[in-house]
């Protein structure tokens, strides 16, 4: 597993979030893609949709099962990654990079700081084993 870069934040739903200004880029963590297995289908939210924190707004499916992806922060969807629609395997090969899901213009940048940092997420993962 690649070591996640330290400027990311994480959620217990296994999202990662990177903040640039008030734009949050969201994907699923390397742990999540590993647990899901081969990703074969991704469904992304519509641009312009308002989402609440912890609202299910995307779907990721492996051969075995479907899982929801939750908005980690409230805001408006401003961009989605069409590349993973065409090649869902990117979510496996580069979950925390090219395999990002969507971008949210967030309402409250302070909420970002309240998410898990790398150490807290790693600690959380250990409680799952």
């Amino acid at each position: 597993m690649a070591k996640p870069p330290s400027d990311l934040r994480y959620t217990k739903e296994h999202d990662w979030v990177r903040l640039d200004g008030d734009i949050a880029t969201v994907g699923i963590t390397d742990h999540a893609q590993e647990a899901l297995g081969d990703v074969v289908f991704v469904e992304l939210p519509e641009i312009g949709r308002d989402v609440a924190a912890d609202e299910a707004c995307a779907v990721v499916e492996s051969v075995k099962a479907a899982s929801d992806v939750y908005a980690p922060l409230a805001g408006k969807i401003v961009e989605t990654n069409q590349t993973i629609i065409d090649d869902p395997s990117l979510v496996n090969s580069d979950a925390e990079g090219e395999g990002w899901f969507f971008r949210i213009e967030i309402d409250d940048t302070e909420a970002f700081e309240a998410l898990l940092d790398e150490a807290a997420y790693s600690e959380y993962l250990e409680t799952l084993d």
């Binding site: 297995g37 074969v40 289908f41 469904e43 499916e61 051969v63 075995k64 479907a66 629609i85």
Partner: protein, 376 residues
Amino acid sequence: MIENALPDDPRPRPLKTTPLDSWHRAQGARMVPFAGYAMPVQYQGVMAEHLHCRARAALFDVSHMGQAVLPGAAAASALERLVPGDLLGLKPGRQRYTLLTNEAGGIIDDLMVANIGEDRLFLVVNASRKEGDFTHIAANMPAGVRLRSIENRALLALQGPAAAAVIARIGPEAARLPFMGVAAVTLVGIPCLVSRSGYTGEDGFEISVPADRAEALAQRLVAEPEVAPAGLGARDSLRLEGGLCLYGNDIDELTTPVEAGLTWAIGSRRRLAWDFPGAVAIRDQMEHGAHRLRVGIRPDGRAPARAQTDIVAGDGTAAGTITSGGFSPTLSAPIAMGYVRKDLAADGTPLHLVVRGKPLPARVVPMPFVPHRYAR
């Protein structure tokens, strides 16, 4: 398929293990509960294992399934009272797929029955059903026919186009078996019972092996260059591509062999006497048609439709339900099977699948999705 584990059991019980449990873990398997057993769902990944089985050969541990012997000259006639298959016509060295049916024509389980000679039948039943099956069979045997369940043997399945070449190296007799043939064969010095059958649509073998030798045999098989271990994930996607029913999903006590498209498992001699459980209901459906039928379904788009997905007709009326659905690694597209109203069961019929509240276009297609490649 993970969600099928212990569907009716609210209280978790300690999981049973197969004789290959530590071997799976040493091979890097991810273990999941299934039908009360800790089972490998995958090793390298479902997709890779699936494609490997189609291209070369995969080794599955299916020791969770129930094995039993029914000895006695009257065994075949006695078991015929519970199934619609022709067992009296099953010659030594031959295996047959059949069904335990109930009085309403529903399917209690699907199973393999082999005539292994010396007036003995060998049965393999589903893991999730074995206790009930064995109780049901035992309770219905006449004096002198006693079902012996086998607890000290593992069951391995070697499946794929290279399976015959692999098994020929360690047991040439096994490689000479015809499709659905069965024989006692020594593999690398281990006394096994081998049948040429499987649950993937590929050529292959199912090997009943003494529990204390199972690991040695598995290790010997994966040492062959063509063979990789495969888990329940690939087993499920392979059987779905093969259009093969999963008990509990695609067939159960509320589905009949007619609805499920399994009337080929009803022996022609049995259709003269109609003397098996549920024969009246099944005969009526065969003569007048069932209200619903199991069909193959291809979604037009990329989204898989999973089991329990509602199917609607072009006019918006309820059409049925998906019973198994997922992604086909071979076709690189979603596939499904399910029951639809009989007026919607013809190949090419357009349908909609309600996935996350949205009706997605799909159509009825023939099964199997991927052609069977059994040894003939």
